[in-house]
């Protein structure tokens, strides 16, 4: 599997949320460029070319990282902290996904350098729009 042309790294432990988000992204024309990982450990493995991603080209970075906050093992916030404290990675835009705007971690994420956040709405149309807009915005900006 070639991971070198991945444009969007998407970390999300909920398979349902992941499926819906990926659908929204692919429908918006991001075909084949999204890579989904199931937790923070996998996300870091991908970024640093460790574990299952040893073979990946370490010089190729995704253009956008979508991070769900609540993930097992290593949380989205921990991944964010690592990315934003690494001089080689910190320019990659990171968008946080959260289930609730009440999430107290949103503030902390911004403090850590998150570029935006999406509250996953129950309304799938809204989610589709949000993820499409944010995806487009940050991808275009980073080009």
């Amino acid at each position: 599997m070639n991971h070198d042309d991945v444009e969007i790294l998407f970390a999300e432990d909920s398979m349902d949320d992941a499926a819906l988000a990926i659908r929204a992204l692919t429908k918006s024309g991001f075909t084949n460029k999204i890579h989904h990982v199931k937790d923070g450990v996998e996300a870091l493995d991908f970024i640093y070319c460790t574990g299952a991603y040893v073979a990946r080209n370490g010089l190729q970075y995704p253009k956008l990282i979508l991070l769900d906050l609540k993930m097992p093992k290593v949380t989205g916030m921990e991944v964010l902290e690592k990315i934003k404290s690494d001089p080689k990675l910190k320019s990659i835009p990171v968008v946080i996904l959260t289930s609730s705007k009440e999430d107290p971690d949103i503030k902390k994420c911004y403090a850590l350098g998150a570029n935006s956040y999406i509250v996953k709405p129950v309304d799938s149309d809204k989610f589709f729009l949000a993820i499409k807009e944010i995806g487009m915005y940050w991808l275009i900006l980073s080009e």
Partner: protein
């Protein structure tokens, strides 16, 4: 020595000559007097070592071995006898040295022998009188001392009581601190509970909604109109569930939110809300009649929520009336300002009034008026947190008036 009234008055007679003692006793024979005789200074001192309760001492000056002056000097050294009246009895009148010596020793009076019995009786009588008065004073002083003692006891008891109160207060403070800690803990738990409710309950609803949308979008041709209707219902209901969770969370968050009080320009706030109102196309836009609104003291964002909920309710329940007015106003009552929002809308039956402000309680069907039933519960909670109250009056099909009171800012 305890002073005793109504007992014999004791008189000490000191003279070296028995016949003189006898004569004195004779002169002073009185049923109230008790004469104690001593035939030398030494004997007088001996007696005084055991008995000090003499009203008066009659002291012969010229005595062998120890004369009257010397004796008195020694007597005066006994603390309790310092003020006992002493009458010196002397045969020689010519001697001013004697008088001087006598007074210096603390004597009170002087009598020249041969004694005039009447004068002696009068003098003794005078001193006895004095003695009795002194005794009486002593008794009174004793009572005063007793009172003082009682007072001291009372004060001590009071102090104990105060100590008890202090102890109770300390215990109470301790308990309050413990309770507060418990409450803070519960509050924190509730916070994380609310968060996980919002997180975990929304996730499956999101999936239901999302997958149903996929069916609608990608498999539309496989459903007939009934099937599409069902799919629409699923989507509609899942959205509503999301709203309910959000509202419930917002409501539970209110109870924990810190109220930051500042001055609120209510007129400006209401006007701003009116400007922000969004109406759907074809919706009936009611006319607003906004009266003067006194300033209030409260949390501006919370009070704004009160206005928003009441005004949007008024609009919502007026939507079937083609031409309708919403009146907003205020009046002062006692030390409160009462604000109100009055509509001419659907109204409600006052017999269900007790349900009006309940969480998720609704008095109208979803078909008639949509809503989650949390708006008025939020209003009541906010106003209560501002030490105010909320109430309403209504007539079915004629309209409602919702009131909320806040402490008067101008008082």
């Amino acid at each position: 020595m305890k002073p005793k009234l109504n007992s014999h008055i004791k008189i000490l007679l000191v003279d070296d000559l028995p016949e003189n003692l006898f004569a004195l006793e004779l002169i002073l024979s009185n049923k109230n007097y008790l004469c104690v005789k001593a035939n030398s200074g030494n004997e007088a001192l001996k007696i005084l070592l055991h008995e000090q309760d003499f009203a008066i001492i009659l002291m012969d000056v010229q005595m062998p071995e120890m004369d009257g002056f010397e004796t008195v000097e020694l007597i005066r050294e006994i603390e309790i006898l310092k003020h006992v009246p002493i009458i010196f009895l002397t045969a020689s009148m010519d001697n001013s040295v004697h008088i001087f010596k006598g007074y210096q020793a603390g004597a009170v009076d002087y009598m020249i022998k041969p004694l005039n019995p009447e004068l002696l009786k009068a003098k003794v009588g005078f001193f006895v009188e004095l003695h009795l008065k002194t005794l009486e004073l002593l008794v009174q002083n004793g009572e005063k001392e007793k009172r003082a003692e009682e007072l001291t006891i009372a004060i001590t008891e009071l102090k104990y009581a105060q100590d008890d109160i202090r102890k109770l207060n300390d215990e109470l403070e301790q308990k309050v601190a413990e309770r507060t800690a418990q409450l803070e803990y519960v509050n924190k738990e509730l916070g994380s509970f609310s968060y996980s409710v919002s997180h975990d309950l929304r996730a499956p609803i999101r999936a239901i909604n999302g997958y149903t949308s996929i069916l609608m979008e990608d498999y539309a041709e496989k459903f007939d109109s009934d099937g599409t209707k069902v799919l629409n219902s699923i989507i509609h209901n899942s959205k509503k569930m999301g709203l309910l969770i959000d509202d419930l969370l917002a409501f539970s968050k209110l109870g924990r939110k810190q109220v930051t009080v500042s001055e609120i320009n209510m007129t400006a706030q209401v006007n701003l809300i009116r400007e922000e109102l969004l109406f759907d196309e074809g919706e009936n836009i009611p006319e607003f009649n906004v009266n003067a609104l006194p300033r209030a003291k409260g949390d501006p964002s919370l009070i704004k929520q009160v206005w928003i909920n009441l005004i949007s309710n008024a609009i919502k329940y007026s939507k079937y009336k083609p031409k309708t007015t919403i009146e907003i106003g205020a009046y002062e009552k006692d030390n409160l300002v009462v604000y109100y929002v009055k509509d001419e809308g659907a109204g409600f039956d006052m017999q269900y009034y007790d349900k009006l402000f309940g969480v998720f309680q609704r008095l109208h069907s979803q078909e008639e008026f949509e809503g989650t039933g949390i708006g008025l519960a939020i209003v009541e909670k906010i106003v209560n947190r501002h030490s105010g109250s909320v109430w309403a009056e209504s007539k079915l099909n004629e309209g409602s008036c919702f009131y909320f009171s806040l402490p008067n800012f101008n008082l």
